[in-house]
């Protein structure tokens, strides 16, 4: 599994303001802080902040890579199904639009578990968000149940 995770390269990501406008439209976010550069400036911010609700979406490409480039070759033979059971999200710094970040995937825990529906590998996959200097600014640890039988 660790070898499979290592196949997933770190990603550089810049979230343009237009993408946040689109996301806010989808979720019905009306807070001017996310839509009005003037309001952001009045709040002392140089750039539009990313809504905290956006983090899960921001790191989604890394989960996609986990299930394709990473463990995609195991899906079918070893892994029969994938269930996202929980997430722990931690913010260490505010995140902003038009700012480069690096997304990095890891594996912090892997265990076998037997349930009513079958057997599982239970993995905790930290999705780290690092700033341009490599400082950890946010992290989302997804727990996935990978059904094996």
């Amino acid at each position: 599994m660790e070898e499979s995770i290592s196949r997933v390269p770190a990603k550089e990501i810049v979230v343009p303001f237009s993408r946040i406008q689109e996301f806010c439209e989808i979720i019905g976010e009306r807070n001017a802080a996310y839509s009005d550069p003037e309001a952001a400036r009045r709040s002392g911010l140089k750039k539009i902040p990313l809504p905290e609700s956006y983090l899960l979406t921001m790191i989604a490409p890394l989960s996609h890579d986990l299930f394709t480039t990473g463990i995609g070759h195991l899906v079918g033979d070893l892994i029969k199904g994938i269930i996202h059971t929980s997430s722990v999200i931690e913010f260490y710094e505010p995140l902003h639009c038009d700012t480069p970040y690096h997304l990095k995937l890891g594996l912090s825990r892997l265990a076998r578990k037997r349930g009513k529906m079958g057997e599982y590998l239970v993995g905790t996959f930290p999705h780290k968000v690092l700033d341009a200097e490599g400082k950890l600014v946010a992290m989302d640890s997804h727990v996935f149940f990978l059904r094996t039988i």
Partner: protein
């Protein structure tokens, strides 16, 4: 500005005004397109039914996005979310209206920073809890 709730006005046990979200085809379609969704469970009814679900399942990361919004709709951007734990208990289906609710479970000051801890949950029209969350919000000093 006078409708903004301040830290001092909040008491432990305070209920957070609920947020109802309609997971319509339009909204789900917009989100799937937005994230270039690859899991057919979130857009293919036949695939979802073959897996034993009654309808298309809304992506957990999408449904969980509304927990921070529940809190920031109430307290505005005077707060920052510091930590959130989400546990998914049951799927949210396409066409369902999911209501997000919560209450404040503790208030505390850590190193001069005022914090609120809230327990949150989402439920469908039948009152079934779909996800549980624990969230810590910080009032920047």
């Amino acid at each position: 500005m006078d409708n903004i709730v301040s830290y001092d006005q909040i008491s432990e046990g305070a209920e957070i005004p609920p947020l109802a979200v309609d997971f319509s085809s339009e909204r789900n379609g917009q989100y799937c397109q937005f994230v270039h969704e690859i899991n057919p469970l979130h857009f293919d009814l036949e695939y979802a039914r073959a897996l034993g679900y009654s309808d298309i399942v809304i992506a957990g990361v999408f449904t969980a996005s509304f927990f921070p919004k529940l809190v920031t709709d109430w307290l505005t951007n005077q707060v920052c979310i510091e930590r959130m734990q989400v546990k998914f208990k049951a799927p949210a289906y396409l066409h369902e209206t999911v209501t997000y609710r919560g209450r404040v479970v503790s208030k505390r000051v850590e190193e001069d920073v005022k914090k609120l801890e809230c327990e949150l949950w989402s439920e469908n029209a039948a009152g079934e809890r779909l996800a549980l969350a624990r969230l810590v919000a910080r009032f920047p000093s």
